[in-house]
């Protein structure tokens, strides 16, 4: 398997990792990277990419296997030894302390000292030096919490470089970036490659891989299914290897038949906890029988909008009516009783209680209702039957309804959430990042269910950072930028990604009249 090519800077051999809950994340995985290349690591979610990289970076300890750097076996017990060996990692979630300055974040762990005291001036100097060397533009004295996402990512990359990283692991670096920021990142990555750095690039986005990577390793179900030159493979090839079968990338759905208005949002404004305006005078309507997409780079007000529409966040300016009922002062339960439901963005935080059984996770929105209770006690038989029915109908892979939900894979957890939220036959549902981080099979299933729900007559708001998803799945679509609606497409068929990118970055903005069309009920 592991051919001893001389220029392999990194070889991971027969890595096996079992998590405490018994989940086998890596099974005898072999992985090798050549010096100075950009190496793609792909696979469905749960295929073991993140685990493999955590093993490499010393966050997880493998149960068996070994790691060779430049041909020599090394023991990596923790991130600091990884750093010592010249491995750096840029995580999906930024590893920064927001209230500290850029310079402080840069030097943490390797603080310059003046006697025994911390030397802030030196830290600033060090930051400037490394930024100059790699041609990054950054203000060392700015507080991290004030920086835009792209800048934060630069801090992350510089942080790794300052520590002498020769091998740089980037975990889905483009997930949070705008197309323009992505382009900028790629330029910088190529520059790093030119300076001799090796980059491991984890991504779901096959197009990006084709664009920037030299070689690719594909993981499936915890095993390595092979490595190859990127040039030799088509996107379809990669996709097939990842899932082992043909996945329809295009979403199949029939023409929408929008009916009456279900949701009306008027002149909605809101500020976040730092006092920054996060929603500015937003108005739109959503009708029964349509999937209404909300696109935009993350952090442009979509999350706050979702929270307001589902009652999680109070609002004070503007109005939100569901079936004509103002929800400003309604409790979440009252809002749900208007036949609404919600697939949350962060399913582990909002969508489930991990230690509780699947069965009990399935009834959290309805457990109190009359039909589930009888003289003070819950109707166990009925709840059990309903749970079994949902598990079957939504193809949840598990050991049965009593299993704690935390033991399931991400995709199956999402299926439980979807089962609960969809099985109540909502008139209005907000679906936020429905397929983020779940495997292709589950993604396909969830998307189909969304279309099915639309055809049954629900009004659906779909928020997704996956441009492909939001464009393919939606019937009509708005684009949000800095808390405002900057574009409205009554029909999603003819939009190009380039056009979307321009709206998403605020380069272009439609006229108020064009946007005004999103209001169907004047």
């Amino acid at each position: 398997m592991a051919e001893n090519v001389a220029d392999n800077v990194l070889v991971m051999e027969n890595i096996t990792k079992v998590y405490p809950n018994g989940f086998v994340a890596n099974k005898n995985v072999n992985f090798s990277v050549r010096k100075g290349e950009i190496h793609a690591l792909v696979g469905e979610n749960g295929a073991g990419k993140s685990t493999l990289m955590k093993v490499l970076f010393g966050i997880e300890t493998p149960d068996s296997g070994r790691i060779l750097l430049n041909g020599k076996e090394v023991q990596i017990h923790n991130p600091s030894s990884a750093i010592k060996y010249g491995i750096g990692m840029v995580h999906q979630h930024f590893m920064l302390a927001p209230s500290l300055t850029v310079a402080e974040n840069m030097v943490m762990g390797i603080e310059p000292k003046n006697m025994f005291l911390f030397d802030f001036a030196k830290a600033v100097q060090m930051t400037e030096d490394v930024a100059k060397k790699y041609n990054f533009d950054i203000d060392p004295k700015a507080h991290v919490k004030d920086l835009p996402v792209g800048q934060k990512q630069k801090v992350e990359i510089l942080k790794a470089l300052m520590r002498g990283a020769q091998i740089l692991i980037l975990d889905e670096p483009t997930a949070v970036l705008t197309p323009q920021e992505t382009t900028e990142l790629f330029v910088q990555l190529k520059e790093l490659k030119k300076q001799g750095h090796t980059i491991i690039f984890i991504s779901h986005k096959l197009r990006e891989i084709k664009e920037i990577c030299d070689r690719i390793t594909i993981l499936r179900d915890g095993r390595s299914v092979g490595e190859a030159d990127v040039k030799e493979l088509s996107e379809q090839d990669i996709s097939n290897s990842m899932v082992g079968r043909n996945v329809v990338l295009d979403i199949q759905k029939t023409e929408a038949h929008p009916a009456e208005n279900i949701l009306s949002v008027r002149e909605l404004s809101a500020v976040n906890k730092f006092g920054k305006t996060i929603l500015n005078n937003v108005s739109f309507d959503v009708r029964r029988g349509e999937i209404f997409g909300i696109a935009g780079v993350e952090g442009n007000g979509q999350s706050e909008l979702a929270e307001i529409l589902t009652g999680l966040r109070p609002y004070f300016n503007g109005s939100v009516k569901i079936k004509g009922v103002e929800i400003q002062n309604l409790s979440i339960r009252k809002i749900r009783e208007l036949k609404t439901s919600h697939v949350p963005e962060d399913r582990m935080t909002f969508g489930i209680a991990g230690d509780v059984s699947i069965k009990e996770n399935l009834i959290s929105d309805r457990f109190y209702k009359k039909e589930y209770n009888h003289s003070g006690l819950q109707k166990a038989k009925m709840i059990n039957e309903e749970a079994d029915r949902n598990i079957k109908e939504y193809l949840v892979k598990c050991d049965g309804r009593e299993q704690p939900i935390r033991m399931l894979s991400g995709g199956n957890i999402q299926k439980v959430v979807v089962a609960r939220e969809f099985s109540s036959n909502p008139d209005f549902i907000l679906v936020d990042q429905p397929t983020r981080g779940i495997d292709v099979g589950a993604t396909e299933f969830v998307r189909k269910q969304i279309v099915k729900l639309r055809d049954q007559g629900s009004a659906i708001v779909l928020i997704s950072a996956d441009l492909n998803e939001v464009m393919e799945l939606s019937d009509s679509l708005i684009v949000m930028y800095e808390g405002e609606i900057v574009a409205y497409f009554p029909d999603t068929k003819n939009i190009t990604e380039k056009e979307m990118g321009e709206y998403m970055l605020g380069i272009k903005k439609m006229s108020p009249e064009e946007i005004g069309d999103v209001i169907h009920e004047k």
């Binding site: 096996t16 489930i352 209680a353 509780v356 959290s364 457990f367 819950q378």
Partner: protein, 362 residues
């Protein structure tokens, strides 16, 4: 294949939990034995009384059952509150006030037998509720840390209770600060002659069953558990998190208050508590031992009662101070609460199991 694998890992997890508890208890007893060896001139004699004393006579065993009653109440009270993820320490104060409330009814009003006791118990529960509610309301309304506020409230409850006792309940003929003695109608009858085991033991058992049903078979219990497991999820699902937290503290306060009332009416002839009884804090140990599940609370309470009575007998019969028990308790709490305790061993079991699966698959 995959199903079978995760199924077995789940079974391992359950079996392992029992093993862990046993090892934790074993280690703590071992430490206790070592300490006794150190402290005693006749360690074997001390050990004999410590371990076997409680079952050597019916009366000693009766003492275990007597202590079992308040410990069960303490455990239940804490379990209900911990299930909602509220570290409300006011159970201690509620226990005290519950005793006070029961005493007020017992000496303050005349009623026929049984009814008198029942009303006194309910009054105790009510007093308990009032106190446990305060940290909950402060938490829900202003997000005030319930650990700190409840610890402070315990002192306030104590001083408030002493004030009531001294200025309203005190029997001036008594040689110390104590209420008038309780009429027979309010007392809980002794059920095992020559011991102090009283009707309260039935009340405790009934409350165990009711608490279990409440937590695992009613919508309120469901809401409490979901809120405790993941407050965000509860909120998202439309559960009124604030009211659920308050409900759980009401239930916990009622249990603690009723426990205090049962203790006072069963074990005392007058109310004379001038310090906190400690059963609320004991409840923490018991609840942790029982994994916050009412099903296991009687077992845990019995275990602790046995240890304490054993230690008391030991101190009467030998030269070892009974406070050695407090060291045992601390070790048990830490080891059982320690999720990673023996984890490597468990992990090895799981890995071995999984590797077998991998081989089978290959």
């Amino acid at each position: 294949m995959k199903n079978k694998q995760s199924y077995s890992s789940k079974t391992i997890e359950n079996r392992f939990e029992i093993f862990r508890v046993i090892v934790a208890i074993g280690i703590s007893l071992l430490v206790a034995l070592l300490l006794i060896m150190f402290a005693s001139k006749q360690p074997l004699n001390a050990l004999k009384w410590f371990l076997a004393g409680p079952i050597m006579t019916m009366r000693n065993f009766g003492n275990v059952l007597e202590l079992f009653i308040p410990l069960t109440f303490g455990g239940l009270s804490i379990a209900v509150m911990f299930q909602c993820n509220q570290f409300n320490m006011a159970a201690e104060g509620s226990f005290f006030l519950g005793g006070l409330g029961a005493a007020m009814i017992a000496v303050g009003v005349k009623m026929p037998s049984v009814i008198h006791a029942v009303v006194a118990l309910l009054a105790g529960a009510l007093f308990g509720v009032v106190l446990c509610l305060i940290p909950a309301i402060l938490k829900v309304k202003w997000k005030a840390n319930e650990v700190v506020s409840s610890l402070m409230l315990n002192y306030i409850a104590l001083f408030f209770g002493s004030y009531i006792l001294q200025y309203m309940l005190m029997d001036p003929d008594a040689g110390y600060i104590a209420s008038h003695s309780f009429p027979k109608s309010a007392r809980l009858a002794v059920i095992i002659p020559k011991t102090g085991v009283h009707m309260g033991i039935f009340i405790a058992i009934v409350m165990v069953v009711l608490t279990y049903l409440f937590l695992y078979r009613t919508k309120w219990g469901y809401a409490i558990r979901i809120t405790g497991q993941n407050e965000n999820f509860a909120k998202y699902s439309g559960i009124g998190v604030g009211s659920t937290i308050i409900l759980s503290q009401i239930a916990g306060g009622a249990l603690a208050g009723m426990g205090g009332a049962t203790q006072v009416l069963g074990m005392y002839t007058r109310f004379s508590w001038v310090s906190l009884p400690g059963y609320g804090f004991d409840g923490i140990i018991i609840s942790i031992l029982a994994k916050n599940n009412p099903k296991f609370i009687p077992l845990a309470a019995f275990f602790l009662a046995y240890l304490r009575v054993g230690a008391d007998i030991m101190s009467r019969r030998s030269d070892v101070a009974p406070e050695v028990v407090s060291i045992i308790q601390a070790i048990i709490v830490v080891l059982i609460a320690g999720k990673m305790f023996l984890d490597t061993y468990k992990h090895k079991m799981i890995v071995k199991n999984s590797q077998r699966q991998v081989k089978e698959e290959a």
